[in-house]
Symmetry: C2
Subunit: 364 residues, 2 copies
């Protein structure tokens, strides 16, 4: 269709359709855009990307006022384009998920230079006419990570080939993504065919593809999870990033849809021992974190509906807030309670858990 | 904004925003539109509306080839408008949820006459420019029942005042809506303050309001369920229409989000004894229907996270496919297994279940 005859809404609609046809696939290497963010807390997305996919990151771009030293070289957009950058990735989580006006010049410039623009913000790139216009002219894509693919089927429950591990949690934000990435890395180091499967924005940026599972329409939840880890060779492991928690009254539905669609052979329970109550619950309606064994039993009861062989292979804990003495006590307590290897993936790595995963497999 | 300056897409977008602001509220009385449907099976939505809300239905409109005798008087659109009709309601479930071209004249005519047009189809009314145009001129609303409200919060888990009953199932399509409506009716007959809360398209048409829970973005599932049965007086019962089944690998996420957001004090298990396997599962991946006690235990385990007093008050069964002898045997077996009153709401009514609901309440 000739461009001149289209309004920007029509073009935005068409572009959106295009990026929604399949699960998102990003084009590396990346120029990381940190905007004018002041602290590392708000730059978690970009810093995570550098931590896990440094080879994919060619440089960083900050505008006036940015205080992030990510370790990447500073680059202008033209320098990044000359260095072969495929995408500019917004590495910031801003308040409310908006795209502030002072970022727009840089993003438009990048789109005009042919770089895909990648955003995990709530605000959608395709809602900015000047961005749509620039991308349309250069052929760059505007990729809103939070927009799920368009043609998701209803979940079928049909068993797929290949093996799957899902990280689950006693709460939100307890290291499910980090643990899954660490397991993928450890399996690959051992020469095992494994892929991290991302279900959230930051995970998708790290993996370069994935499905933002909590943005999918509910009816298609388990169908989306089935798409996320498709049929694979028998010796292949998909390591799936979990979301939410079955015991969290805000997100349990998402967790169950992801669990059912993932049909996991193996599960890892992620837990933050410094937390006594669920994140985001407070006042009279505080919800206590469930004991580990209760979380495990609840999850297995539901997982075995779709995979009778589902089993837990480890407990992944975050010990950053805990003294060395307390750590020793907790490792022993959790190991005794659950009969599983216990590890902090940042401090210990996940080799003990992966040993258990693979030894259990030998016994199947 | 002056109409002339808007494209139909802009107008459609604005209209859609309007109807999405709150949960849908319909304007009775209704002219039921059966299009050119040939059989009662495809007219279930309209026939259900007549069964439960006959007082709201002023007449029926069929076009060439329609074979439905609903018991309502035939009316033209102008006759219905003169009789005070507030809405024309599509009472048909067409193949694939499309709105066929031969219906459009009637719907446009109705919109022009000022009747709200109400549809539970997948195809959206707001995507038809001629309908948008007609509605805009008359001030009528185009109400796509499957479009959820716009401003749904994340679920909080905060306990709300009032009492709630949720119907759950061993499978999809086992009478959860019918049972909930029957309980609402029985409670009202006994002078008790009760409201049916609709979570699916047909239920929403019957109730005149509600939230299509499976159309909500996953992140907001339990938040939508919390909106659906808001705070209420202490002696008020919300009777909430369940969706899917916790044991169904296609829809369990929806069922759990609805369960958590509903915080039910009481639950009724709906079951079709003639079914051995879950609907929509087949071949090598057939899923057996769980035993009643297992369904009950699984559901209570999850429900008590948000309401420690949650309990089952009855089993609602569909005996239409079963001989009288077999029925007697099943009633006894189910009552023995579960310790609950067992009733077919169509054959027996739900008074035994409501008796148990209210007697249990007296013991609290």
């Amino acid at each position: 269709m000739p461009l001149a005859s289209q309004t920007w809404e029509e073009r935005a609609y068409n572009m959106q359709s295009e990026v929604r046809l399949n699960s998102v696939q990003l084009k590396p290497p990346y120029l990381l855009f940190f905007g004018d963010v002041k602290d590392k807390g708000h730059a978690k997305t970009g810093l995570g990307l550098i931590h896990w996919r440094k080879d994919f990151c060619v440089g960083q771009l900050c505008i006036h006022g940015c205080g992030i030293g990510s370790g990447l070289p500073d680059m202008t957009i033209d320098e990044a384009a000359a260095a072969g950058a495929g995408s500019i990735v917004i590495g910031v989580a801003s308040e409310g998920g908006s795209i502030p006006p002072q970022w727009l010049d840089s993003l438009v410039h990048a789109a005009r230079a042919g770089l895909d623009v990648v955003s995990g913000m709530h605000a959608r790139l395709v809602d900015f006419p000047e961005l749509v216009d620039a991308a349309q002219k250069s052929g760059a894509r505007l990729i809103d990570i939070r927009t799920p693919p368009k043609e998701i089927p209803i979940g079928s429950g049909v068993k797929r080939s290949g093996k799957r591990l899902l990280t689950v949690g006693t709460d939100c934000a307890v290291g499910k993504k980090y643990t899954a990435l660490a397991v993928e890395k450890e399996l690959r180091l051992r020469g095992i065919n494994a892929d991290f499967r991302a279900s959230g924005q930051t995970g998708i940026m790290i993996a370069g593809e994935g499905i933002p599972i909590d943005s999918v329409v509910s009816d298609f939840l388990s169908g989306a999870a089935e798409m996320l880890s498709p049929e694979a060779p028998d010796d292949h492991w998909d390591i799936i990033e979990g979301q939410g928690a079955l015991s969290h009254p805000s997100f349990a539905g998402v967790s169950l849809g992801l669990l059912h669609g993932s049909q996991p052979d193996a599960l890892i329970l992620c837990h933050d021992p410094s937390r006594t109550h669920l994140l985001g619950t407070g006042g009279e309606s505080r919800f206590e974190i469930l004991p580990l064994t209760e979380s495990i039993q609840q999850c297995l009861g539901l997982a075995r509906r779709v995979n009778p062989n589902a089993r837990f292979v480890g407990v992944s804990i975050n010990t950053s807030e805990i003294s060395a003495d307390e750590q020793r006590r907790l490792y022993e307590q959790y190991a005794l309670e659950t009969g599983l290897p216990v590890a902090d993936p940042i401090r210990d790595g996940v080799s003990a858990i992966v040993d258990n995963l693979l030894s259990g497999e030998a016994n199947l």
